[in-house]
């Protein structure tokens, strides 16, 4: 199976690899997936007082598409408000990276990681977690 150029680009030069201070109340962390399934994503966001994401970092255990999906997610998150970030849809990632059907779960995982990171931040700051109504197919 051939990878799209964008997947190869993100895989070869992953953006924003790293770790933010999990203990900081300004940092939200999302850890999704499972080692048994062959992919685990950890996505972290740093949020300022205006609820704008100023920094995002990731680390991913998984295939090239999983790594590319999370790398792309960190790029998209920077500069967005947490409300706008909540609207990122996995199909946007599928489209941008031209993921084939067998790799759609990688984009789902990235969306889940974004939501988990935002909710972690919200809960830390006394806000309610937002439960996603979305059903993935």
């Amino acid at each position: 199976m051939a990878y799209s150029e964008k997947v190869i680009d993100h895989y070869t030069n992953p953006r924003n690899v790293g770790t933010l201070d999990k203990a900081s109340h300004k940092v939200g962390t999302g850890l999704v997936g499972a080692p048994e399934c062959g992919d685990v994503m950890r996505l972290q966001i740093q949020v300022d007082d205006n609820n704008v994401i100023t920094d995002a970092k990731f680390k991913t255990f998984g295939c090239g598409s999983a790594i590319a999906s999370s790398s792309l997610a960190t790029e998209w998150l920077k500069g967005k408000s947490i409300d706008d970030a909540m609207k990122i849809d996995n199909m946007d990632i599928v489209e941008e990276l031209a993921l084939p059907p067998v790799k759609i779960h990688c984009s789902v995982l990235a969306e889940d990681a974004i939501k988990a990171a935002i909710n972690d931040y919200r809960v830390k700051n006394g806000l309610e977690a937002i439960v996603s109504e979305k059903v993935h197919h």
Partner: protein, 403 residues
Amino acid sequence: MNIPVYLDNNATTPMDPSVLEAMLPYFVEKFGNAASRNHPFGWVAEEAVDYAREQVAKLIGASEKEIIFTSGATESDNLAIKGVFEMYHEKGNHIITTVTEHKAVLDACKHVEKLGGKVTYLPVKEDGLVDLAELEAAMTPETILVSIMYGNNEIGVVQPVKEISAIAHKHGALFMTDAVQAVGKIPVDVNADGIDLLALSAHKIYGPKGVGALYVRRKGPRVKVTAQMDGGGHERGMRSGTLNVPGIVGLGKACELCMQEMESEAIRLSALRDKLQAELTVLEESYVNGNQEHRLPHVANISFKYVEGEGLMMAMKDLAVSSGSACTSASLEPSYVLKSLGLSDDLAHSSIRFGLGRFTTEEEVDYAIEVTKKSVTHLRELSPLWEMFKEGIDLDSIEWAEH
């Protein structure tokens, strides 16, 4: 050195140029049908097939009359298992195999089950070998066939074939082996090993794709299989269809070359494999899968923990290897062979199979070592699991959100 480097010789091998040379006259010039008994075109073809039959038989210590040419090992496995089941169903309906067999054997067994047969799928030990006591215990008066592979395609372990065949025979069953990975790589002798049926393939031994053979014992006992392909009654009535003369000539030549080179190649390849393995297990948290004593000389299957196999292969884009990770399949299930060794899913997802071959050079192995080390290190820097491991977090203590 040619880039990319090919280290996937358990999947297929490049054809030896002298095999191609032997085949070439049989396409245009000597195109006859080996079954045409009444003119020189047929005689020339028949003579070539007979010669190839001797070459194949010699490699496995058989008689040329015991070789049935097929389209490959998948067909040979199907013919052996379904053919024995149909031929001997009055004697019994039970077949024993193992969970680590090739799909051609497993699926042929599943087919037999649909026809009313009973199949026991023996588990294997942690090192990939069959537990002989378990085999003995599984034998019943109804058992007509024990089908256990010679060398495993994913981890390279070599089963105790002599002991297995002795158990099968003691209980009056036939012994069949899928020897695709072993033939031409290590000495295989149907008489010394007590083999009644044996499947082999040309393209794993530097021959062409689309041709293989089934060895069917003719003496002590005389074994018969019911044909699975009906037609002109070729191959002693066991496999109809016009013989693939150029392919068969290629298979014969490939066997002859293996006969000449096997001994020295086994020494050369196991030395290269051991070097590769020694260098790569210097990496922290890397594990060799399968028994390391009883195995083929040219395979190493290594798990690099906290790195996912498919992601790793993408990093090693100039190295052609294969992985037990099944990330590309819809099921997300990693290799059933690795799982049956009791490997956790994450280790199975982290495995890479390195398969060396006749044309593998030391320079290529050195390149593979360098690229693998670099890629594993790079991907671990990207891996949250590696970071957690380094921080001393027990990954089993985390409640993972399965998806």
